[in-house]
Amino acid sequence: MKRLLLSVSDGRGFDIALVSVPLIFLFTMAGLPLVYNIVMSFQEVDMFSLGTIFRPFVGLKNYTTLFSMPETWPILKNTALFVIASIAGQFIIGFALALFFWTNFPGASWMRGLFLVSWVMPGLVVGAIWNWILSGDFGVLNYLLRESGLITGHIFWRSDPDFSLWAVVIANIWLGISFNMILLSVGLSTIPQDLYEAAELDGANVIQRFFTITLPMMRSTIGAIISLGLIFTLQQFDLFAAITAGGPNNSSNVAQYWAWDLSFRQYDFAQGATISVIMIVFVMIASVVYVRSTRHEVRG
């Protein structure tokens, strides 16, 4: 007993104690639910069997039901569209801003930090603001688009099935620009300046320098940012809850919102778990890419 105490206060036991408690906590709170999720996706779960652990196993029935539902493929298509459009928008605008602030004028780093405000705002607040900006009759975005001559009538962003997904995409791009910009700025600042001086002496113009120095030097940063963007867009839930709630008629529904909707609106926990399993596989793939692209830094 005394030796154990001594080891915990002054030996290897100290490290093991420090690291094992949080890992056990993480295992019970994140690892077990993950396993439980997979188990539930093979079970029949309803309101009555919710309290019991031993529920009837139904094999792959939940999966076959899921893919025979008429809304499944449109929702998966929405998810892909949402992810691709959000990442493209965030990345392009974020990269443009990062390059602009990279030119280094007085106050640049302070102004750049200001953009990060969106990152710390609660998702529901961002959703509420955009809900109001995108409002069909009185929304300020419609007014600005009309005044600039881009549209003539009103666009009912939230209730028109053709636009509802794009309403959330717009809000999500706004939310993600700051994060893309700041990480790309960090990447840009690690490029050695003398590379550009050498290229300039050799007569390379701005565009050539961008494609032959900036992009190749940023390759691992860009990989990390795109995979992080994928992870974050697949986590986006609050904006859907605040702007469209997946409607109208699932036209803006995506898998991560649908999983929650099935479990907590329609009390179909088995189907909710089934979609979760499928989506978590996708997220895991993205995160392996992310971890690999930051690997050299993880190792220090």
Binding site: G11, Y36, G113, V120, P122, G123, F237, E297
Partner: protein, 275 residues
């Protein structure tokens, strides 16, 4: 063109860009103090002619904003204290050694960081209801948030510990300190700032958390401000000035912390995501 002129032009463009980007925030504050008719005026006025400051008071009282915000503070503080107590030690060990075990632990932590809350809530909810944890809804949410955010905290704080020179700790050990003593008297004080900034970041995230609270807290008197805002926004609402006033009261404390600590928060964020 002189350099000073170029700097000025760049600064003006930067201000314009920031103004466009932050317009939604401005629009929230302006809408909040508009009257009902000014809000729906066409064309909309971009400057409030007749500011209604009393709206804050009436929303605060009618929507019970104080109670919602208090619940948010309770949940966020609970989650942050739990994360800080458990996560700091974990980050320290992961920073101090470099071997296969540490690599495996880091990989695990990074993988746990990415699980979307809206997908994890189904098993967590069913599991918690089976062990009776849902009778203490705020505790349940605190536990769930702690598990969700701890990996991010560990990654951030690990970067801080990496910058504390190991020689200082070794010197303390040579002077007769125990590992325990060296950790609490030497390493922790040196890493204090990094830990504080990371804790503030986690606090701001937990303060705005929505999925877990929405799913697990049924009793309205325990719901945080995010859930309150969600139930305030019905599908066909037209009280946008009231909603924006609510949102402003919710977000202003966070914005104040952000503006005060901007430089530290930005550097903390970037060190975490790319290291």
């Amino acid at each position: 063109m002189s350099w000073a002129l170029r700097d000025k032009i760049m600064l003006i463009i930067a201000v314009l860009l920031a103004a466009v980007y932050l317009f939604p925030l401005y629009w929230m504050y302006v809408t909040a103090i508009k009257t009902g008719s000014a809000m729906f005026a066409s064309p909309p006025s971009f400057w409030p002619a007749d500011p209604q400051w009393s709206i804050y008071r009436s929303v605060w009282e009618s929507r019970n904003v104080g109670r919602y915000l208090w619940n948010s503070v309770v949940i966020a503080s609970g989650a942050v204290s739990m994360i800080a107590v458990l996560g700091t030690g974990c980050a320290y060990v992961l920073a101090r050694y470099r071997n296969a075990w540490v690599d495996a632990g880091l990989f695990l932590v990074l993988m746990l960081q990415v699980l979307p809350a809206s997908l994890m809530i189904t098993p967590i909810f069913v599991g918690f209801s089976q062990i009776g944890l849902l009778d203490y809804p705020r505790t349940a949410v605190i536990l769930a948030i702690a598990a969700k955010s701890m990996p991010f905290f560990v990654v951030l704080v690990r970067a801080t510990f990496m910058s504390v020179p190991m020689e200082l700790e070794e010197a303390a050990l040579v002077d007769g300190n125990s590992r325990f003593g060296a950790f609490f008297h030497i390493v922790l004080p040196l890493a204090r700032n990094g830990i504080l900034v990371s804790a503030i970041l986690i606090f701001m995230q937990a303060f705005g958390e929505f999925v877990y609270s929405k799913s697990m807290i049924q009793a309205i008197e325990y719901q945080p401000a995010s859930v309150g805002l969600n139930s305030f926004m019905g599908p066909n609402t037209n009280e946008w000035n009231n909603i924006m006033a609510y949102a402003a009261m919710y977000v202003t404390p966070i914005l104040a912390i952000f503006v005060l600590l901007q430089r530290r928060i930005v550097s903390g964020l970037t060190s975490g995501a790319l290291k």
